[in-house]
Symmetry: C2
Subunit: 204 residues, 2 copies
């Protein structure tokens, strides 16, 4: 098919092309299911512009991927925090975040793969705290609160938060990459595993 020609932007409208590029790249990345799916030339075709025009807004393919990833991480984190906000009990807040993590990852397997399994690494300023880190800290704080109230046994809340992260990432990642395995319901699995890691119901 001939590339849908795009009418030339006027002065000051260069920003619009940048937005269009990010949007098209996100769609391509999600559809293809991996960073392999995202090509500079393919994105240019989708936007209706020459491959070289990409370099007016992005230094290279990596920079474009980073722009897409920034949006994804912010979005995913906000979804997780929104899920946590519906509960008062710190244990339920932690489990709700885990379910939101898995739900988002399963709904966006292509983007998730680039976010958590791709070679493009998000780079942050020295003082900047990435959104994912904030969520991890929130989990750690909720675990600490649950310990303080005697809801779960004492332990190292930071280590538990990392174990919970590994569990949910492991479930999303394995499910996506080993589709032939007879997976049990990942949400139930994450809830059960999360409770076990936190020690919910373990004899005090």
């Amino acid at each position: 098919m001939p590339p849908a020609a795009r009418e030339r932007n006027r002065r000051g409208e260069g920003e619009r092309l940048r937005e269009d590029i990010i949007e098209a790249a996100t769609a391509l990345m999600e559809r293809a299911g991996c960073d392999e799916g995202l090509t500079l030339r393919g994105t240019a075709r989708a936007v209706g512009v020459s491959p070289q025009a990409m370099y007016l807004h992005f230094d290279d393919l990596t920079t474009l991927v980073l722009a897409v990833l920034g949006r994804c991480h912010a979005l995913m984190s906000s979804v997780m925090e929104a899920a946590a906000a519906e509960w008062d009990d710190p244990v339920e807040r932690v489990l709700a975040r885990g379910r939101a993590y898995i739900t988002w990852g399963m709904a966006n397997p292509g983007l998730y793969q680039v976010m958590y399994e791709g070679r493009v690494q998000a780079v942050h300023e020295p003082g900047e705290v990435p959104p994912g880190r904030k969520v991890l800290w929130a989990v750690r704080d909720d675990v600490t609160a649950a310990m303080a109230s005697g809801r779960i046994p004492e332990g190292d809340a930071g280590l538990i938060a990392v174990q919970l992260w590994a569990l949910v990432h492991g479930l999303v990642s394995l499910r996506a990459n080993k589709p032939h395995f007879p997976w049990p319901d990942p949400l139930a699995l994450a809830d059960a595993g999360g409770r076990r890691i936190m020690g919910v119901g373990a004899g005090s």
Copy 2:
């Protein structure tokens, strides 16, 4: 550099080229750290043969990757079972397999990525049980034995085995893909998480 020319094989020595190709492909896959690192042409150059010669032994790039993956899965599984064989206690056998899994994954990040995060899916005959599945079953059986002896609380051993798999895969995968995060010792993390998931030390 000029491709190191390889002397032509005699009749019946075509098998040797096949072996050389798989070996070179494994090295390239490990060095590059991802399937992206493995190119048909690059492997051909490393072996000292023309790109077209690859098609004498492999239908396409995917088939070559599958040949490498078959060896990797068999090797990793045998390492895990060897680690388990050093213990009598079923709980310790499970934890030993987890440590072996993580140790292998961290020692071979490039191969691990292709095995568990790549788009190339290993295909098995209807009746064939892949080596990784056998290890998972062995874990499930050890968990069952630990329950039967009262070492850990009762529960669904199959679900616990999957949770343990997700935990160790999650640790290896996240560690490889988020190198900027201040990771605690993954072996200690896997041991602690594994004990919690199995309910070791939980009040009976």
